[in-house]
Each structure stands twice: as structure tokens, then as C-alpha cells.
Symmetry: C2
Subunit: 442 residues, 2 copies
Amino acid sequence: MNNTLEFREGDLIRIRLPSGEVLEGIVMPATEFSSRDVIIIKLENGYNVGICIKDAKIEVVKRAIVEVGREAPMERTVIKGKGSHKILFLSTGGTIMSRVEYETGAVRPAINATELAEMVPNIDEMVSEIHLIEMYRLLSENLTPREWSNIALNVGNAFRDGFDAVIVAHGTDTMAYTAAAVAFAVRNAPGPTIFVGAQRSSDRPSTDAVLNLRASLITACKAPFAESVVAMHGTTSDTYVLIHRGVKVRKMHSSRRDAFQSVNDYPLAKVTFPKGEFKLLNKRYIPREGDRSKLVLRPEFSDKVFLLKMFPGMPCDIIDYLIDRGYKAIVIEGTGLGHIRDPCIKSIKRAIEEGLVVVMTTQTLFGRINMKVYTTGRKLIKAGVLSADDMLPEVAYVKLSWLVGNYGSDAEKIKELFTSNLVNEINPIHDHRLYPRWYHGD
Amino acid sequence: MNNTLEFREGDLIRIRLPSGEVLEGIVMPATEFSSRDVIIIKLENGYNVGICIKDAKIEVVKRAIVEVGREAPMERTVIKGKGSHKILFLSTGGTIMSRVEYETGAVRPAINATELAEMVPNIDEMVSEIHLIEMYRLLSENLTPREWSNIALNVGNAFRDGFDAVIVAHGTDTMAYTAAAVAFAVRNAPGPTIFVGAQRSSDRPSTDAVLNLRASLITACKAPFAESVVAMHGTTSDTYVLIHRGVKVRKMHSSRRDAFQSVNDYPLAKVTFPKGEFKLLNKRYIPREGDRSKLVLRPEFSDKVFLLKMFPGMPCDIIDYLIDRGYKAIVIEGTGLGHIRDPCIKSIKRAIEEGLVVVMTTQTLFGRINMKVYTTGRKLIKAGVLSADDMLPEVAYVKLSWLVGNYGSDAEKIKELFTSNLVNEINPIHDHRLYPRWYHGD
């Protein structure tokens, strides 16, 4: 098992070297001198040293949790109004919060609290308070389960502290993953968590940031649901913004403003413009919970889960590699109804025998897993592979990361919860309109 | 570097053991006793022996190519008619060729030549000859680049031998991959290669096999193009079958009959029913080549290419593992416009320095790669990562497997050809109707 899976940048760790020497320090960012065996830590005396961790024993003394408003309060801007909703606005980075020149080391938020307020007419009539906090300045491809934990922690704490809704500004690349993460980690909330982003930065005339932000604020105040959702353009024009369920949404286009689409489910709502009307589209949702004490916050996520896409001729030894590297769970993105090439079933059997949880999703994205139809699927069921039903591969990955993070030692509990429908990540009814319509030249 | 990547079941190999001893034999299927280090070979004297290949040197003496109608002629059924088209029908297995009880060891073709002929009214007026050959009985998840080679070889040889079109019956799970493989391997053909499958087996009342087969035969006779295409239902009813370009099609649903859809391009044609009319939908195509001697057949594919899907927190050491295992190329299925988490760029740099070809595709599927917009993309370009433009991740994988198979030692040639538009795998013009329309509850 490799140490690098155990700790992360910012953690305070204790290293016991093979010589018996013990060192304690904070893990620094990797540099050109780092490798799988060498890490840089900052010692208590302030010096940074490179340590060879081969054959060393490492324990994490203190995790680098960025907890807004608790142990390490972050700077916040507060806008007050005459309305009744108290909203937290967490900024994590991404196009929505950046200028066109989005360069390393020069990432600056383009939107401040005042600008945000100006984007929504009559905002002061809607809200009692908006607290604006800059939590990260990250391109979303750089978020990991660690940042999911921190974001979920802050969302959960905000609800406990009396906020009615949370808006999270986020890069679009992995926004759907983080929205799913919060859906699993923060439950029985008094209001929705709304992820909002932009496909064009906010200083461009064509930006979608303004409308998406307005829709997120309107949703924060008017939604009857308390789910983790994504608010992004529903069309390429400025006609409406869709509010997608976080566990059923996917970025489906690299550049269009309506890149986000619900898969295997309908969006929860839409906000139409210019009027800013909130319209519910889906009756199946988790309602707002009036009693804040019922909130359940489980913000742990594991980075010992792997999402493996199957392709013709995929080498089976990759599965053995993941077992040997100490992974706890594997999400297979199989073909069709949930298949993988036959020679790999042997390695999958070994994984399950060694205690890993293995689940099957499909690279078709649309439709359900059904491993009972063909020989390959039946062999996989026999080996102990779980069906992800109609969950997206990405959502199955987030769900397993959350399950391993919170129930790591209890494989039976993980299996039971994985196949349960926790936050509408499984849609029991698919009607024909769920499958999008392709233009076939008529 | 691991030996198991170098040879496959059926190959005649020569093993030089560390002791100096040399053995020659045919690689047998893996058994419960096989492992990464132990393989079973059949010696010339007929005995099967397990050999420990750790630290052994292995060379392939003769590849196990299944060449229809050449060295090892396969049994074929021939139907003659009064028409003018000579068609080869290659069966590889899958739902279309099977009965409902699709069990291990009991896979039997459900369609014979006579039944096939009966499915198309007036078939004898369309064709001069149809040759029906059963090449494999494989579930398509079990096909590998090796089988792509064999199929491409047979398609190419058929065209050289005077056939005007080839129909390939194929399981749907990986049909799009194989269709793309033939598109790259067989060029300047006198006619189309049409992959056809079924989402419901042919002895069910709801089968789509009959209509898809009829459409494939009509396309074989009437299409003005000579591309490798997929013929599958365009709707859930029996109104028309779409003819998709093999390098632009994807199985997008696990069970629907209209699971196959063109992505980032329009279908080439449709065949409407009940009349069986052929209608061209796309003017951009490769026309039939009149001169058979111009056919170019390059049927080699490499299994040293890996398709790696990026996810938040993906461990970067997986890239180092692929380098160390002797892979020649990696297709990254990144996020958005073509991104991967920053810490992995170091491993990607190493891969490129060690001679691997690394290309970027997007998990959004729709849209293009553009690595010039954000910092991460620019770092990737600087590291030498190639853009797959609007190619599907699966097509980029097939294209690289083909390039490495045919130009393995020439990385510059591979890079030049990968970024060239060889068989319309890149669509230079996207209009807004290419993106499918989701139902948003209106």
C-alpha cells in the first residue's frame, strides 16, 4: 500500500523513518523534486525539508480542513436586505468567478459582493442577508474528494448556523461531481444547495454568469426542495435556466451554454427570463426540512475509489494494480447493459475476494444496468459485482467515495447503501421523453 | 515491460528462458492456473505445458490471423440472384445472430442464409451473390484489437476479391469501436462496410434485427458512399433505420432500439420503411472507388494503447504505471475543453519524454477540445499533448491503436496522422442542431 493515498497537502503528519527517527510537519505542495517516494514537509521550526518516505510509517496528526466560520473563520462580505432568506454564497473558483485572463497565479475573482447584488433586481426584497465567502480559487479539474469534504462541511455548518440556502460558485468541468458529493454528504437540510457556474467568463458580453446567478438566487428563495442542484442555462439563448438534480446531471458539451443536462431524470425546475419566474418541473424531490436539528452531515470522502472505463482489449492487470495499491472500491464504466470483457472477470473476482466493492455502470450513460440478460452479466453478478441501476458512472463514483469515506471498514453496509436509493440518484421510472431527440435531417 | 502485451491466444511464440532453454508453441487460452507470469502453450508434440515467463524473452513467430477465404478458407453459404451486387455477409456474433438463451458454450446463430434472404423482399433482384460466413461467435464486449485486425483483413480481402459491399453482423456493445477500426484500416474501397446489430434478439416479436438487416442490404446496394457505417434503428418504432458514420457514432442507451446516435456529425443516410427507400442525409462522405487496385489495407492494431477517463482526484501514478508497462499511447478522456488535474501533468510530461503519444478527448462527448482557453490546457499543449478535436474518446482510442499498430516506431508520423482528418473522424463544422434536444417539461 502506498503512503501517498493517506495524506494530502496541508495535513500535519508524523513520519517514523526506518531508522527510528520521528519527524512531524505539514505536507507542502509537490515540486519538481518530489516523487512517489519523496515529499516536502514544513517542520515546526519553519524549515521545508524533503523526506524519503520509502518504508516509512506515516500517520496523519491533523487534517487540513478548511472550515468556514468555525476554527479558521474566513473573510466574509455581508449584504443585508428586507427579505426573509439568509443565504451563504461560497465561491470555489472557475470561469464564473474569473476574468478572461485566467492564468496561473493570477486568478482573481471578477465578481464581488456588490456586483453580485447588482445582478439581481430587488435582491434586497428577497433576502435578509447574503454572506459572500471566497473559499477556493480553483479550476474545477483540480478539485478532489478532499475539497468535496470541505465544501460539504461548510454547507452543512451553514445550515446549522441558520442559513436557508447555500449557493456554490464552481468551475463547470467537475461541477456535477461536487454537486453529487454534497447531495450525499448533507441530508435533511432546511434548504437547497445550488451550484452555479458559467461557460463564458463574466466580463464577456456573451456571459451566461449573470442569468445563472440570478436563477440560483431565485431558486435559493423559492424552491420547495432541499436538494443539491445545478443551475445552468437550459438553452443557448437567455430564455431559461434549468435547475438540475445534482445526482442526475452531467456536463454534456465542452463549450455550449446549455452544456448541463439531466440524464435519466427530468430537471427539478426552471427559472424563466426576463421575468425570473420559478417553475417546478419534477414532483419527485426532497422537501425542505423545517427542523434544523434533523440535519445529518457526513462530509467524509475517500480517495481510494477508482472509476475505470472499459474499452475493447482493456488489460485486466489494471484491476490487479488497483487491488495491490490499496483501493477500496472500483466503479466500472462497462458497455451496454453492464458488461466487461470476459478475461477480466477473474481479476474482478479477486478484487471482491480481497474485500473491494465493485460496481457496474454503463458508458452509454442513458438507460439502466441489467446484468441478468447476457452470460457476461450473469457471471459478473455471480462474482459479486453490484448494479448501479441508472446511476451515471460519475455519480456512482462519488457515491462510493462517500460510502468508503464514511463506512470504510464495513463492506456489507457499503453494499447495502450503494444499492439503496438515498437521494433520488436512482430514478425508478423512465419514460420515453427522457432520451433526448437527435436531429436526423428532416 | 510485460510480455503479456506482446502476444495473444493462438499465436505461435518462441520463448527463451533465463536458463537458455528455447521452447516453441501456440499460446492457449488462459486457465485458472494462468497468471501474469505463467502461460499455457501447446508444444509441437501436442502437449500443453505451463511456462513461467518471468524474465523470459519472447518473440512471436506467427500471428494467429483468421483470414477468411485465403490461407484457411471458412465454410460459406452462397445465395445467387439476378441483381448486380456481390455482397459478403460476415457474422461475428452478438444478439442479432443469437437466440434468447444466450448462454456460455451454447451460442448458436439464429439466422441462416435462407432466413436472411427471406427478410428482404426481392433480394434476388438486388444482388448477384451473397456469401454468408460465420467468422466468430463472440459477445462484442470480448472483441479486442486482435479481432478488429482479422475483421478488417477480411473486409479488405473481400473488396479485392470482387465484392461490392460487406455487411458485418456484430454485438452492439462495442460495434461502434469495430466500425471505427474498419474505417481506418480499409481505405479507398469500392463500397461500404455496414455494421448491423440488434437490441432485441431475432426470435422475439419486438426484434429490431429484421429491419436493421433489410436496411443494411439496401445500403449495400444503393449507398453512394464507401465508408464503414452502422445501420441501426433511428426511432423506437419501425419507421426508419439510420446509417451512421462509423467514426462518429456511439451507443448512447443501454436498451433502446434507437440506442445508436451520431455525435458531432449527422448520420450519412436513412432507410425508411415500409417502402425501403434510401435517403442521403449528409453530403460529406467518401465516395465509392471504382478502381479496386487503389484499395489500401492496413489491418494492424496495437493493444498498447490505453483509454483513461479522468475523474476528480484521479491518482497520477496510474500514468506512470502505463509508462512502466510499455504502453505506446494514452487517450485521456478529460473534462470540459480538455483538462486533467494539474498534479498529473508531471506524469504526462514523463510519458511524452519517454516517447508515448498522449492525446486529449472530452468526457462531455459533444463539442470540441480547445486547450488554448485555460491555464491547464495551455500547460498540456506545452507538455506535448495532442488535441483530438471533436473525435469521440472511443474513436481517438481506435485511431491511436491503428496508428501504433501500423507506424509503431515512428512517433512523429503517428502525431502527424493523429491530428489529420483521415476518414471524416473530425467534423470541421458544427451547427446548433448537432446537439440533441432534451425534453425540459414544456
